[in-house]
């Protein structure tokens, strides 16, 4: 190989093939993926994120939550995601079309969050967990090993007789000093709204590609 131009063109071609073959093809296949219309309910799924939850998605992104948490449930038979109750079914491409940035994550130093809104349905629990992850409720830490996100909350003097509606009540040792209250900022509220919106409950036709019952039928016929 002595011809510089040939090396140059070859190297160009290699990447062009991979770009067209993987990225453009995937883009062509998935770009038309739209909401699914349930024939009985006449409703579109997945439902779009509301405004506050979409701001929360941006908070999730800028704090780098995805560096420890995934947002993808693998199918039954591939790992223990379903057994851990991280979801009732595998995640499919259609679940993600409502999000502007899709951060499915690569490491699980924290649990998967794709259906965390279904596992933990109360905003108050999320506030406590973000504020004081090591605080224990019934002997179990709220989120053992996670850093605290106390900077998402405002500590200010409480007005006697007029407590804030959304003041966070922390359990035990991590409680707020007397005469003060801890109030979530808008960023905390947005993040929690996003987390509570993370639940893929609708059963799309493509969500169960392997029919276990069909296998059973075959055995039954024998």
């Amino acid at each position: 190989m002595r011809n510089g131009l040939a090396i140059f063109c070859g190297a160009f071609l290699v990447l062009a093939l991979s770009w067209a073959g993987v990225l453009l093809t995937a883009h062509r296949q998935l770009t038309g993926l739209a909401q699914y219309k349930d024939p009985a309910e006449d409703t579109l799924f997945p439902e779009p994120l509301n405004g506050l939850a979409d701001q929360g998605r941006a908070v999730y992104q800028d704090l780098g939550c995805a560096s420890c948490h995934t947002q993808q449930v693998r199918r039954e038979g591939l790992g223990g995601d379903i057994a851990r109750k991280w979801g009732d079914r595998q995640s499919v491409a259609r679940d993600y079309i409502r999000e502007k940035t899709v951060l499915i994550g690569t490491t699980r130093f924290g649990p998967d969050l794709r259906n965390v809104g279904k596992r933990i349905p109360e905003a108050d629990y999320f506030y406590k967990l973000l504020c004081a992850p090591e605080a224990t409720v019934g002997g179990v830490a709220l989120a053992h090993g996670m850093p605290s996100f106390r900077f998402l909350f405002d500590l200010h003097p409480a007005i006697a007789g007029q407590p804030s509606v959304d003041a966070v009540k922390l359990p035990g040792a991590s409680a707020v000093p007397a005469g003060y209250e801890l109030v979530p900022t808008l960023r905390a509220k947005a993040l929690v709204a996003y987390l509570m919106d993370l639940k893929d409950t609708y059963e799309y036709p493509e969500a169960h590609p392997f029919s276990e019952s069909a296998k059973g039928e075959g055995e039954h016929a024998k």
Binding site: A26, P111, L152
Partner: protein
Amino acid sequence: MNPPDNQRTEQLDIDASTRWPVLLLFGSALSWLLVGGLLEIFASIQFNVPAFLSECAWFTHGRLSAAAESALVYGWGMNAGLAFALWLMARLSLSTLRSGGWIMVAAVFWNSALTLGLLGIFGGANTSFELLEMPRFVTLLLLGSYLLMAVWIITTFSIRNTENVFASQWYLLGAALWFPWMYFVARTMLFTAPVHGVVQPIVDAWYVNGLYGLWFTPLALAAAYYLIPKILGQPIYDYYIAPIAFWWFAITTAFAGGARLMGGPVPAWVSTIGSVANFLVLAAVIMIGVNLLGTLAGRVGAAQKSVTLRFILLSVAAFFVAALLNLLLAFRGFAQTAQFTFIPVVRDWTIFYACFSTAMFGAAYFLLPRVTGKAWRYSSLIRIHYGATALGTIGLVAGLGWAGWHQGQMLNDASVSFDAIVNTLAPWHAFHTGALILLAFGHLAFAINFVFIACPVNSRRTPAAVIQAPPAMEGAKA
């Protein structure tokens, strides 16, 4: 001493022409290596002490780890890689490096853009896309300053004064061309005109795989292909298969990115193509292995005498380990346990640190004395650097690999609570921190030696790097 022959004078001129750009790029690279290493240690400590630096949003774990990764990859990796590529291309093309001034201006822009990008991550513009965490505003600055540096790799090659084109040159040309294209594509498809839904993780996986496989690995291979035959004074074992290996390696690696998304919410063909590519790349890995190990065969003892080749041996070993880990992760049975654990982290770290960075250390020990015309100041610091690197690298890959497998088994067993997994991993995070601190000591030793060889203040000129023999004992004289 004999007067140097013509070719030797020519080579001295070529080395001298690369002096200032190489010193600036390597100096910046080393600074980023120290800064990024420190950030990485802090991020690792946070796994054991979650409260560490958690009071301030700037240093929350997600941002700190993103900043550490960016500082190491774009700060240390790209600066060192470009310094090495510019020097080697000039040497192999028997042509002095022109326009060193432009390269230095571009290097200043590159490092300023990187600083802005890191401040952006800390300040809240972290994009959270792996290896693309830096905010949107740095894209053009980074791309522009990269092109201004890399274009001289190509122009130096095009005005070469040699008949033959050497294997290292293909890898250098490939890497120089592939990075800007991959970076442009990824930044455009993710930020300028964002693609829809899960195409985003596919773009990111394609880019991450490309940056590791088509930038860092080729540079490490260019170093191995050049330095092993050069120092041993042996030709490459079987030159005929070298171009086949190059093209096969390039085309298979380019398609391997999808394997990172196995089991994910993407079309199955994406990860299948990636897995198949990770199998097919083995043919190239074997051919490269035959060439490099064939050249080394029977001369490992001689190779051990050169500190450069010791680092290169480490790098070549890591190249095989990384290929093996990629292959294992292409198996569904292995991946269902190993995915999302320490193991893919170790795979990427093996490519970036154990393969690429050690190759750059080795190359630096070879090229800096030639470029500056000075000897290394402290041979003890060289030994500390090599010892820390070898011990830290082997310990980290073996230790975290084992921990990752255990982690995966626990993650897949629903009866083990997540708290229990966190507690079991705690000593391994501490081990990780310890290994990173050990490596940082090595970096510090290297940096001290670099300051002495790079600074004009200490201009003690010596013809070659000589490790002095211990002085004779007093008793022996009597």
